[in-house]
Amino acid sequence: MAQKIIKYLLVFLLVTILQSTVVDAFSIQGIKPDLILFFLFYIALKEGPVWGAIWGFIFGLTIDSTYTPLQLGIGSFSQASFGFLAGNWGDKIYLETPRSKSLFLFSLVIIHDILRYGLGRIGDCGLAFWHLLLTKTLPAAAYTAILGGGIYYLLKRQAEKGYIIGSLKGKEEAGRGA
């Protein structure tokens, strides 16, 4: 367990650094994918809603602490909700294909942003709020979902070829056994 926690923390550190450096190079008209949410989505699907909520809380709090201390608490709230919903609904929805995972991720990013921007302005859901959702959230959610779907597709391909003998293959075999 301790090993896993350290592993997730290190990957989170790396993903956050990538998000604020390298990902800028891939932005289209200022729209960029959200690697941190994708990583949280991955953890939540793998570990379930409890760990999804806990890791979401930790990620959100750390990012707010570092970059937006005035908004402390908003990130932890929205990301804990995101992690919980991903883990909770992930168990109930059929998510076998990368496309279904991608669509699921797309909807969750939108929910996350509604919570984040909504809490940021405490109920003031004026024109700017909807503008933000339409011009930033929707394209970014689509970008994140496409990227996430692509990564899952690659992982699936690798697993089918037998290059990855870890969790993916293990899960499939467990499913067949059941």
Binding site: T21, G73, F77
Partner: protein, 261 residues
């Protein structure tokens, strides 16, 4: 005795969710000073690692950037000579008109070593801090215009709240018609607030800081008017401003310090 309620795995997830959300709400309710103290502890591990990677990424572009900066340096030298001449002339005219000299400012250069990873993040981390005399609320500018203000100083680095953030309003002035207002950005769009219907504001007008707020000095470029709309049912004009600064391409900024600071 029968246990009235047993915590099962199904309940545990909701308990964890409620706990994390409640904790987040409590943190949201803290005052600014408490939030800053908590944030200091939370960010300890991140900044050194991010700083290192930022430098590594930038190393790749250093040759091209050097060439571009040399060219810019030559152009700016010419410009400085011209400005010096204008300043001399200005000083002379001020003396004649017996103007009180405005408080002079010192420019402290700073490199951007981090950006908020959130997609809507409106903050930057710069590599100047207490040692350079950086203090909270000092204005931050680039060659194009006003970038934002310092909201936090931690050792050798500081956090800049960008003009794009709704918490970073600037008292503004339309240069051509001398219309005073307040510029506020929200959701990536910037507006002049409180512009009366009769005010003379047109598309393309240059907007600068008025110096009224006490934080930003006057005449820093904020942007140009992108759109003006007037609705009969409203008492105020809706004036949208295109910011002068391209916030996505920023690499270096300058912190403005009063000489007495």
């Amino acid at each position: 005795m029968q246990v009235p309620f047993r915590l099962t795995a199904a309940h545990l997830k909701y308990v964890v969710l409620i706990f994390t959300l409640l904790l987040s709400l409590i943190i949201m309710g803290l005052n600014q000073r408490e939030k800053t103290q908590l944030a200091k502890a939370g960010s300890l591990a991140f900044i050194p690692a991010q700083r290192l990677l930022f430098y590594l990424v930038r190393m790749g572009n250093i040759y091209e950037e050097n060439r571009r900066l040399r060219l810019l340096n030559t152009k700016l030298s010419l410009e400085v000579r011209r400005m010096e001449h204008l300043k001399e002339e200005n000083d002379r005219l001020r003396k004649i008109l017996n103007f009180k000299e405005r408080a002079p400012y010192r420019l402290v250069p700073a490199e951007i070593i981090g950006r908020g990873p959130e997609r809507s993040a409106n903050s930057l981390i710069i590599d100047s801090g207490e040692a350079e005399g950086i203090r909270v609320n000092q204005p931050v500018i680039s060659a194009e215009g006003l970038v934002g203000r310092i909201i936090e100083v931690r050792g050798g680095r500081s956090t800049v709240l960008l003009l794009l953030d709704p918490n970073c309003r600037a008292s503004s002035l339309v240069e051509r018609s001398k219309v005073y207002s307040l510029m506020e950005c929200d959701g990536g769009r910037c507006y002049l607030k409180g512009v009366p219907l009769y005010a003379d504001v047109q598309k393309g007008d240059v907007v600068v800081t008025s110096g009224w707020g006490g934080i930003f000095p006057p005449n820093l470029r904020l942007g140009t008017v992108r759109r003006v709309s007037t609705r009969k049912s409203k008492l105020l004009k809706e004036v949208e401003v295109k910011p002068a600064v391209d916030f996505t391409g920023l690499k270096e900024v300058f912190v403005l310090q009063r000489e007495e600071d």
